[in-house]
Amino acid sequence: MPPHVGGQQGILVCKGEPIMSKAKSVALERSLQLRDQKPLLKRMLSYRDMYLMMIPGLAFLLLFQYGPMYGVVIAFKEYNIIEGIWGSPWVGLANFEEFFSSAEALQVLKNTIIISFLRLAITFPVTIIVSLMINEVSNNAFKRVIQTISYLPHFMSWVIVAGIVINVLSPSTGIINAAIKALGGEPIYFMTSNFWFRPVLVLSSLWKEVGWGTVLYLAAVSNVDAEQYEAAIVDGATRFQRIRHITLPALYPVMTIQLILSMGTIMNAGFDQVFNLYNEMVYETGDIIDTFVYRKGLVEMNYSFSTAVGLFKSVVGLILTVSVHLITRRINGGEFGLW
C-alpha cells in the first residue's frame, strides 16, 4: 500500500473537529509518511498501472507538442525540402540577424506592443466598470438577461466576428457610416485606414470580450459578506461610497492577477483577430509578430526565417510567463500560482 496522507487524516480528525493543533498533526503525518517510505523501485511498482494509464497522453504530448520543438532547429539552418530538417546546412544566427537588421522587425515589434498595451488600457478598466454596473443591478432577472447577452460574442470565432465588424463598418451599408452620412459627413473606410485600424482592433475585442471578462470579477464580488453592505447603509454610506469602500477593494486581488497575467502575454497581440481583419493597406499599423511569421513562413515559404522569428517570440513569451508566475506566487504567498 502506498502511503496515503489523505487516508491518515481520519486518525487525526474526530467528527470533523481537529483534536490536535495543525502544526502537530502535520508533524505526525510527516513522521508516519517517513516510516511508510519504501524503496523507490517498490513504490514505483505499486503505481505501475498508473504509469500505464499515462502512456497514451504522454505519447500525444511528445509527438504533437515536443515533436515541433525538435523542428525548431531549422531556425539555425537554411532549410530546404530535399535535405529535410536534419540534413539542411547550419547557418548559426544568420536568420535572427536578418530579422533584426530588417526594417520590418522594428515595425512588427512596435505594432505588437502598441496593440497589446492599447487593448489592455481600454479593456481592463472598462471590464471592471461594467462588472460594477452589473453588480449594482438589484433585479436578478434583468441581471441574468444582461449577462446572457453580453457573454454571447465570446463564443464566436474571430472569422465570424471579423465578418460582423466588416459589415458594421462597411462604407456602403454599415450602420456606423450610415450615421456619419446622416450627420453630413463623408463615409470612412475604416478597414483600410492606418489611422483607424488599431482603434478598430481594440474596440472589436472590447465588444467581443467585455461581457465575458466580468465573470471573474462578479464571482469575486459575490464572496463579499452582505452584512458589510447593510452596516454601511446603516452608517449612511451613499451608493458610491459603498462601491468605493466595499466592492472595489474586494476586486483588488482579481485585478492584480489579471493585470499581471496580461503582462505575460504582451507578445500575443491577438493573431486570430488581426489575421482575420487586416490587409496589405494596414500592415504599417496592424502587422504583428504572429501575422508576420505566418506570411514569411506559409505564404513566402521562407521556413527557416519564419521559424527564427517565431522562436524569438516564444522565448520572450516564456521568460515573461515565468517571471509573471514567480511574481504572482510571491504576491499570494504561494497560495495562488499560475500552475
Partner: protein, 294 residues
C-alpha cells in the same frame, strides 16, 4: 438615509439600467442586423441604416446555401472534427489526469513539468506544419483532430479537480482489490461529471471555431470545414466558388451576396446558440476552476 438620498439612488439605478441596456443592444444589434439581412430581399438588403425588420422576408439566401453541396459538406466535416476531437481529447485528458493527481506517485513532478512546459513554449507554426506533413496528415481530417487532442491546460484543470476528491472514497475499493484503472472508471469518472462536461465543451467550442489549422493543413476542397468556407466567403469574397447560379434569368429573385453571407453566419453560429445555456453554465464554472488552481 434621507429622502434625497433614496431619490438619488433610484435615479442612479435607472441610469445604470439604461447604460446596461445600451451595452446589451450594442452586443445584440450586429447579430440582429445580420439575421434580418439574411431574410431580406434584394431591395431591402441594399438599403442603408438601421435594420430592425424586413417587410418581405424571403428564404432565398438560405436556399442558396442549402443548394451549395460544398457548404453542406463543410458542416459535416466540422461535425466530424468536433465529435472526434472531443471524444479523443476527453478520454486522453481524463486518463492522464488521474495518475497526475496522485501527489505520492514517484516522478509525478517530472511528468507534470513536461505538460507545464508544453503549455508555455510551443514549437511554432512552421515546425508544427512540417511535422504534420511528415506524418502524412496533410489533407486529412486527422490533422485537425489529433494535434489538439492533448491540451495541457485542460489536463491541469482536470488534475486539480481530481485532487479535490477525497482519497477515502478510493480506499474501500482498493481494499477489495480493485485495480487503479477500475477505480478510475467506476469511482473517479462518475464523480468527475462537472469537470468532464466543462472540458468537453471547451474542446468542442474550440474545435468548432478553429480555422487556422484547417486553412494550412487542408487544401482538398471536399475536406474544408465551416470556418474555412466562412473565411473564404466573408473575408476573401470568394462566394462564386461555392454557390452556383443555376439560371441567369433568376438573378433578380436571388438574394444579394450580403444576404447569403449573413445567412451563412447565422447557420454557422446555430450550433453554438443551441448549446449556449450549457456553455454559460459550464464555462463560468470552468473559469473558476482555472482561477483557484494552485
Amino acid at each position: 438615509m434621507n429622502r434625497f438620498d433614496s431619490r438619488r439612488d433610484k435615479l442612479l439605478s435607472l441610469v445604470n439600467a439604461f447604460l446596461l441596456i445600451l451595452l446589451a443592444f450594442t452586443t445584440l444589434y450586429p447579430f440582429w442586423d445580420l439575421l434580418v439581412l439574411s431574410f431580406s430581399d434584394r431591395e431591402d438588403a441594399l438599403r442603408m441604416g438601421f435594420r430592425l425588420y424586413t417587410d418581405n422576408p424571403t428564404l432565398s439566401a438560405y436556399q442558396q446555401i442549402l443548394s451549395a453541396p460544398e457548404i453542406g459538406r463543410s458542416f459535416l466535416n466540422s461535425v466530424i472534427r468536433v465529435v472526434g476531437a472531443t471524444c479523443i481529447s476527453l478520454f486522453l485528458t481524463a486518463l492522464t489526469a488521474y495518475p497526475l493527481s496522485k501527489r505520492d506517485m514517484p516522478f509525478n513532478k517530472v511528468f507534470t513539468g513536461l505538460f507545464l512546459f508544453a503549455m508555455m513554449f510551443t514549437g511554432g507554426t512552421i515546425p508544427t506544419y512540417l511535422l504534420i506533413k511528415q506524418l502524412g496528415l496533410i489533407d486529412s481530417l486527422w490533422s485537425l483532430i489529433l494535434p489538439g487532442a492533448m491540451v495541457p491546460y485542460n489536463l491541469i484543470i482536470m488534475r486539480n479537480f481530481l485532487r479535490s476528491i477525497p482519497d477515502s472514497l478510493e480506499e474501500s475499493a482498493k481494499l477489495d482489490g480493485a485495480s487503479n484503472f477500475r477505480i478510475w472508471r467506476s469511482i473517479i469518472m462518475p464523480l468527475s461529471k462537472p469537470v468532464l462536461a466543462t472540458v468537453a465543451l471547451w474542446v468542442a467550442v474550440a474545435q468548432w471555431n478553429a480555422y487556422f489549422d484547417a486553412l494550412i493543413y487542408i487544401t482538398d476542397r471536399s475536406k474544408f470545414v465551416v470556418q474555412v468556407i466562412l473565411r473564404r466567403i466573408l473575408l476573401e469574397n470568394q462566394m462564386d466558388m461555392y454557390t452556383t447560379v443555376v439560371n441567369t434569368e433568376d438573378i433578380a429573385s436571388l438574394s444579394t451576396e450580403e444576404s447569403v453571407k449573413a445567412a451563412l453566419v447565422m447557420v454557422s453560429t446555430l450550433p453554438i446558440i443551441a448549446v449556449y445555456p450549457f456553455l454559460q453554465k459550464y464555462f463560468t464554472k470552468g473559469i473558476m476552476l482555472g482561477a483557484v488552481k494552485g
